[in-house]
């Protein structure tokens, strides 16, 4: 039987404010347990929440860049449930009246097609603390540093139809929040977390099937694996005549499987009601306008500009704008070099990214500055070195041995462009390989490459390849 897969994602993006959403405690990651949990975060008696304006501004930024409606009045509500990492016994969230609703995000699928994914809503809420399960004599330790960190919960329409699409949407969203500088996007640290709602229905069927929710998957790769696992699990159940039960499941990265959560088995009744400690949040047009004016160039706009300004393909432009830092780096290289943008794009996304990825480094941590890379590209385009030599110069630069020019000089890698010198190399090689010379002359054209190789070897790769080709052909065919 054929199945339609229906996926909706709920993303929790921690907003990059300095202080918490309802208290003046720091949100910095990695502090000693409970050192950033003030009396408000710990829900001491008589403590009251006071909303952080910056969290509101960040939500508005997100809303504006997803073509959403910014609610002129939004309401904070209490979501009531008991859990040790939830100090007040309720989470302050937005329920019926979120600040952002009815937007969309365009994603570019692997075949180059654009698909529009609905953003149902995005609302402000507070994060919970953390339960630490290391053994404290069979007890659980509670760290409330994270409690009260502002979150923007971004809920998509169930418009995604495969794990692959889900990951593309997630990456697009990730890139967007980083462009907006409203979230650092660090998935390991939990700054950008994803819950996936997945259901299957017979192909063409209108009515949605029963969904399961996979909680808190903390990498793009795991999202893909978890969704694919869940799709096959549900398929198996449905095809053997069973029913999928609506439940929350956890992804286990070790086994690659999802399992039902034990703690949330009982149906929850969250008893939402407007938080009487917080009045309605009113956002006026002027505020929206001023935030709109401060918005940076967004990934989609940048991509279109790159295609025109740098004459890049869809593919190159899309890859380069994936992160703002990468795009900025590329633009800096272009501004410093005389080489073509295409060459710059190839080097940035090819050699540079390969080495950075290998070392687990971010573009901002690149040992080669944009200016240094530009210098190398200049030496390629002015024929000082060949592309091949450039790769070894590049590696030396990456290893910190100096600038392109320094390395070229030190190692004597400057390309040989003097026809007389090249002709001397060619004469030497023909002399050293009389048999092959005879065979070539007898019509074995493919030996041309052999002679190129020998000259390169003899010259330690320094001969200008175009010149060598010309001169070698002339000499062999004369």
């Amino acid at each position: 039987m054929e199945w339609d897969v229906v996926i909706g994602l709920e993303v929790h993006a921690q907003l990059a404010t300095k202080s918490k959403i309802f208290s003046g405690a720091s949100t910095a990651y990695g502090a000693e347990p409970n050192t950033q949990a003030c009396a408000i975060d710990v829900a001491m008696p008589g403590m009251l929440p006071v909303l952080n304006q910056e969290a509101v501004n960040m939500a508005i930024k997100f809303g504006l860049s997803t073509h959403s409606t910014i609610a002129s009045t939004s309401i904070f509500a209490r979501k009531n449930y008991f859990y040790p990492d939830l100090p007040k016994g309720y989470q302050i969230s937005q329920f019926e009246h979120p600040i952002v609703k009815n937007g969309f995000l365009d994603i570019i699928l692997n075949d180059g097609q654009t698909k529009r994914i609905g953003v149902t809503r995005a609302h402000l809420e507070e994060d919970a603390g953390k339960s630490l399960h290391e053994d404290f004599h069979g007890l659980t330790g509670i760290d409330l540093n994270r409690a009260g960190t502002p979150l923007l919960e971004i809920v998509s329409e169930p418009d995604l139809t495969s794990a692959e699409e889900a990951v593309i949407y997630l990456k697009t969203l990730h890139s967007l929040v980083r462009y907006l500088e409203i979230c650092d996007g660090n998935m390991q640290e939990g700054s950008f977390r994803c819950d996936a709602n997945i259901s299957l229905k017979p192909k063409g069927e209108k009515k949605l099937g029963t969904r399961t929710e996979i909680k808190n998957v903390n990498s793009f790769r795991y999202v893909e694996k978890a969704i694919n696992f869940e799709i096959s699990r549900q398929k198996e159940i449905l095809e053997s005549g069973g029913n999928v039960s609506q439940e929350t499941r956890l992804y286990d990265a070790v086994s690659g499987e999802t399992r039902a959560m034990r703690s949330k088995e009982e149906a929850n009744d969250y008893r939402y009601f407007p938080d009487p400690d917080l009045l309605p949040l009113v956002v006026d047009e002027l505020t929206i306008k001023s935030i709109k004016n401060q918005l940076p160039e967004l990934p989609a706009d940048k991509r279109e500009r790159f295609k025109v300004q740098y004459e890049l393909t869809d593919y190159d432009a899309n890859n380069l704008v994936a992160s703002k830092e990468l795009a900025d780096y590329f633009e800096q290289v272009c501004s410093y070099t005389e080489a073509t943008a295409k060459l710059a794009a190839n080097w940035v996304m090819g050699d540079l990214m390969a080495l950075l990825n290998k070392d687990g480094l971010d573009i901002s941590q690149s040992p080669i500055s944009s200016q240094s890379l530009a210098e190398l590209l200049d030496r390629i385009s002015d024929n000082t070195i060949s592309g091949k030599i450039a790769k070894s110069v590049f590696e030396a630069m990456y290893a910190g041995e100096g600038s392109a020019d320094e390395i070229i000089t030190q190692k004597g890698l400057k390309q040989i462009v003097d026809p007389a010198v090249i002709t001397t190399f060619i004469t030497q090689v023909i002399k050293n390989n009389p048999t092959q010379y005879e065979q070539y002359k007898a019509g074995q054209d493919r030996l041309f490459g052999f002679f190129v190789g020998q000259v390169m070897k003899l010259s330690q790769g320094k001969v200008n390849p175009q010149l060598l080709n010309q001169l070698l052909k002339k000499q062999l065919d004369s």
Binding site: P45, L51, F82, G89, D269, R271
Partner: protein
Amino acid sequence: MHHLSLKAIANKLTKKEISAVELIQYFLDRINTHDKTLNSFVTVCEEQALQQAHAVDQLRNKKKLPYYAGIPIAQKDIFCTQGIKTSCGSKMLDNFIPPYNATVIEKFNQAGFITIGKTNMDEFAMGSSNESSFYGAVKNPWNITKVPGGSSGGSSAAIAARLAPVATGTDTGGSIRQPAALCNLTGLKPTYGRVSRYGMIAFASSLDQGGPMAKTAEDAAIMLNIMAGHDAKDSTCANNAVPDYTANLENPIKGLKIGLPKEYFSAQLDSNVAKQIEQVIQTYKNAGAEFIEISLPSSELAISAYYIIAPAEASSNLSRYDGVRYGYRCEDPKDLTDMYERSRSEGFGSEVKRRIIVGTYALSAGYYDAYYIKAQKIRRVIRDEFLTALNKVDVILSPTTPNTAFNIGEKVNVPVSMYLSDIYTIAVNLAGLPAISAPAGFINGLPLGFQLIGKHFAESTLLNAVHQYQKLTDWHTQSPEQYA
């Protein structure tokens, strides 16, 4: 000494007719003598109070002190006091010593007042008789078989017995005005948002308001000057300018328009109460006030709406008492659920649990619209009816309570009859209006109070009206014989 007004005491201190240490010791002695019977204090801050008094006396020779520096005040045990146990009348917080002060406490400290003790109260302010306290019932100094009212019953008993010159209270449905009425005091519930709720332990956040309890309107005005004002730590706190509440006290009230809601003066009104209130009306008429009949048609719905909204908010506000970070935790919990359920069941008293269950029920799926949303709609209707009436009149007059103090034990197991004792006070909280209760005389030796309700932020009008009344009457000067 113990009958003196704040001004008179401050005068004596300034003139050094008495030292702050002597003053504090004087009231501590009265507490030691009388409070074993009355049970109005949960904590007496003997050592700290004397220390602070000593410091005041030392400083008085060196620099200019705030005018009221050195005067004792009793603080309701709902206000968090740094380093002093703050129990909210509950076993749940019997061991709770806050590391911070409520804004109200901070303001009284700044003004030089000395906290002499923390007063007993109904557990989490839920009650109208002070019988739901973990620390036992408080007795009414006018008759110790009677309740002092609640939830600020410790504060009212303490002032009535002259164990402290003034005290703070909080009022969610009448908890300042009703005990003030039952103990022959003047108590003001300010406009919602006039006084910061920061550090004041929440019962029902959209209704709770702290306010002064005193012997006279003048003392209440002095206290409100200190308590009122914007606080960035409370999002619901109003940003309106704070007037000097003592400035208008002496204004004549000739021409003051007073509304009498016909619904409050129905046939059901006790005839003795009606007689007393008629005297109040006559006194005001003599002073030149005009009376106009008004109507608050939905007032009979106020109790119903209140007993949905208040428990609903309370059920959520009290979820933080879970045995994890502070307060009571049960012995040897066998698992997480057991810890929650036993800590909360053992830590809360029965009235609190009853209200948590009502509130949880009213908010739960399937009932939210029928109860909570509907109650909030009625709340708007009630508020708007008040605002319409207050367009025609300056203040609205009513009895504060349907009767004088009832017997201890009389209503403790009949929650609904207890709830009905707040019939005249509750609507005011729903509407967020300011209201004051002041002595209206005695019925069979027990005090009765009358209530004036004002426009939003018109506390000055209320204090002026009561001060003028108190210049023409002497009910407020009377105190129980045993504590004379």
